[in-house]
């Protein structure tokens, strides 16, 4: 491909004592691409995502954004490079309201350096309305909101700013069917805008519906990167469980090619 990838992760490693949580993993992501990151719990995918999000330092390896090598010492630096993350835990401060959470760490300020709560409320109303027109409880602490509403805040926070790369860790795990459909629509919309998305998911249906490519991790290693058209759900499951494709995969693919 002639295009420069948005992100290249090259030979990333992460060790915890003797444990290799991420073992020499390379991954790239192009503009407007949705890449599914799959694997068992503990396969290292969350760890890999945290490294890209700046929440964890890799033991070795290199990250390039738009071809330029970068080092992220904290989440702020990753965000400045346009990498936003929606964590599975949502990472919301329960006692604060939606605007405070949306702008947490990037608060809008008035000329005198005071918090501009009025403007933050207005902006939040706009971005939240785009995701969920029924969102009204903007001044309630987020602990009193439903799982879906909390998820909407976490998503809003990730797309409000100048996002180029979006990491979504199980974005639909806590959602009902209609909200899941909303997230799927949103992913397609962002994709059309040229944002690159890394989608960590256990939901095969979502993955096959939304992703262009899948990467599969097993015990910290990358065991496969495939275009979504080249594999079946069974192939991917085999990669996740056994760490290898079924024996007949290459034969089948040859047939298909002919």
């Amino acid at each position: 491909m002639a295009q420069t990838p948005l992100v290249e992760m090259i030979g990333i490693e992460k060790h915890f004592g003797g444990v290799r949580a991420v073992d020499h993993v390379s991954l790239d992501l192009y503009p407007g691409e949705v890449v599914g990151v799959l694997g068992h719990n503990g396969a290292g995918k969350s760890c890999l995502m945290r490294i890209l999000a700046g929440a964890m330092l890799p033991s070795a390896g290199e990250i390039r954004v738009n071809g330029t090598p970068v080092t992220f010492c904290d989440p702020n630096e990753a965000r400045k490079a346009g990498i936003e993350t929606i964590y599975q835990t949502l990472a919301l401060a329960d006692h604060l309201d939606a605007p405070s959470n949306l702008f947490l760490g990037r608060e809008l300020k008035t000329r005198f350096g005071n918090l501009d709560d009025t403007r933050m409320l207005e902006e939040s109303r706009k971005v939240l309305a785009r995701l969920n027109p029924n969102f009204k409880n903007l001044s309630d602490p987020v602990s009193s909101l439903s799982g879906g509403q909390r998820q909407v805040i976490a998503i809003a926070r990730a797309i409000y700013f100048d996002t180029k790369i979006l990491i979504m860790d199980e974005p639909t795990a806590a959602l009902g069917p209609s909200e899941t459909a909303m997230v799927a629509d949103l992913i397609r919309q962002l994709q059309a805008e040229g944002i690159g998305i890394l989608l960590v998911s256990h939901d095969m249906h979502d993955v096959f519906e939304l992703c262009n490519r899948v990467v599969v991790m097993n015990k910290g290693s990358l065991v496969g990167t495939h275009d979504i058209d080249a594999v079946t759900k069974d192939d991917v499951l085999s990669l996740i469980v056994k760490g290898e494709l079924p024996a007949d995969w290459s034969a089948r693919n040859l047939e298909a090619a002919q």
């Binding site: 990472a91 760490g105 005071n114 918090l115 001044s139």
Partner: protein, 344 residues
């Protein structure tokens, strides 16, 4: 008293914007009601309780615990605790007095006291954030070290004869009207507003502004609410905590100045158990020891509840031992009521 409640009313329209009062507001409202009931009750019980002079005495007595309570509130909102404030108060007061004895001008010496307090707070903050020692243990250590240092520096003896200027902060008052009587004795027509009360008001307003209108305040709440979320959102959690401990230490230093100035003597053994009063103050005011919750206005109400309880019980001739029992019960009661409300 109406003075110190001003920050509650003056916290801006934002806090009263929503029609439904949240749990925090209900808590403060019930604490305020308790405070009023106490005032009415003690006024009925004792003639001299409800007088200008006694009101000013209460202001004076509450100012020290109020200053400590404000610093404690910031630390508690971050999810921490500062057990060292009583000892830091003593060390800072002793430091100020020693500087005065060495010939440093009083104003500068008091500034030094505040710096000593802030330095103790900085050590607390660094031990908590860099060495990852739990706040309870870190500040317990500082409590012992600061007290030990204060006693060592003075040989456990009070420093007295500090001069009139040293006593002005604690004993002076704004708008005091004194008339010289024909017999040569001065007659106090209006005792004035004590400087410590004014100081408390200014600090409370400043702290409320900082917590609600500034980014650092928002980050203090976020850190206590969900530290990991705050970190992932780009909040510099360590720096936020450090800030809270430094503020707590500096305010303990300021409170030390006020207290020692009032006594015109630096007592290295002063301020024992004050940390517990400060914690009680914050908790009665609605702060949660699990972090993320607390307000300066609530803490001010808490401080006056404790101050008025002490004063009123004294006036009613109740022994100091019974007072401790009552205040202990009030602390538990306040937290219990809060939990009942949150469970609902």
């Amino acid at each position: 008293m109406s003075q110190a409640l001003k920050p509650a009313a003056g916290r801006g329209p934002a806090s009263f914007a929503s029609l439904m009062p949240d749990a925090g507001k209900i808590h403060r409202l019930s604490a305020l009601l308790t405070l009023l009931l106490l005032i009415v009750g003690f006024a009925l019980a004792s003639q001299s309780f409800f007088s200008v002079n006694n009101g000013l005495t209460i202001l004076l007595q509450t100012s020290v615990i109020g200053l400590l309570g404000i610093g404690m509130t910031m630390v508690i909102i971050t999810g921490g605790i500062d057990l060292s404030v009583g000892s830091v108060l003593a060390l800072a007061g002793v430091g100020t007095a020693m500087a005065v004895k060495a010939g440093v001008p009083v104003g500068l010496a008091m500034g030094l006291g505040v710096v000593i307090g802030a330095a103790c707070g900085a050590v607390n903050g660094l031990v908590v954030t860099k060495a990852k020692i739990p706040p309870f243990v870190a500040t317990l250590g500082m409590m012992l070290m600061a007290r030990g240092l204060a006693l060592q520096l003075t040989g456990a003896a009070p420093i007295s004869q500090l001069g009139e200027a040293f006593g002005r902060l604690g004993n002076g008052a704004l708008f005091r009207v004194v008339e010289l009587q024909p017999n040569g004795f001065p007659k106090v027509i209006f005792p004035g507003i004590p400087y410590p009360a004014i100081l408390l008001l200014v600090v409370a307003a400043g702290a409320a502004y900082m917590l609600h209108r500034r980014q650092i305040g928002r980050h203090i709440y976020a850190t206590g609410s969900n530290e990991e979320a705050a970190r992932l959102s780009g909040v510099r959690v360590d720096r936020t905590k450090l800030y809270a401990y430094v503020m707590s230490g500096a305010l303990a230093g300021l409170a030390g100045n006020v207290l020692m100035s009032r006594l015109v003597t630096a007592q290295p053994s002063e301020g024992v158990m004050y940390e517990l009063d400060a914690i009680a103050t914050a908790v009665i005011g609605g702060a949660s020891l699990s972090g993320g919750v607390g307000t300066v206005s609530g803490t001010m109400i808490g401080a006056f509840i404790i101050g008025i309880l002490r004063n009123g019980l004294n006036m009613a001739g109740v022994s100091a031992f019974i007072q401790q029992i009552v205040i202990g019960a009030v602390v538990i009661g306040a937290v219990w009521i809060d939990q009942m409300r949150n469970r609902r």
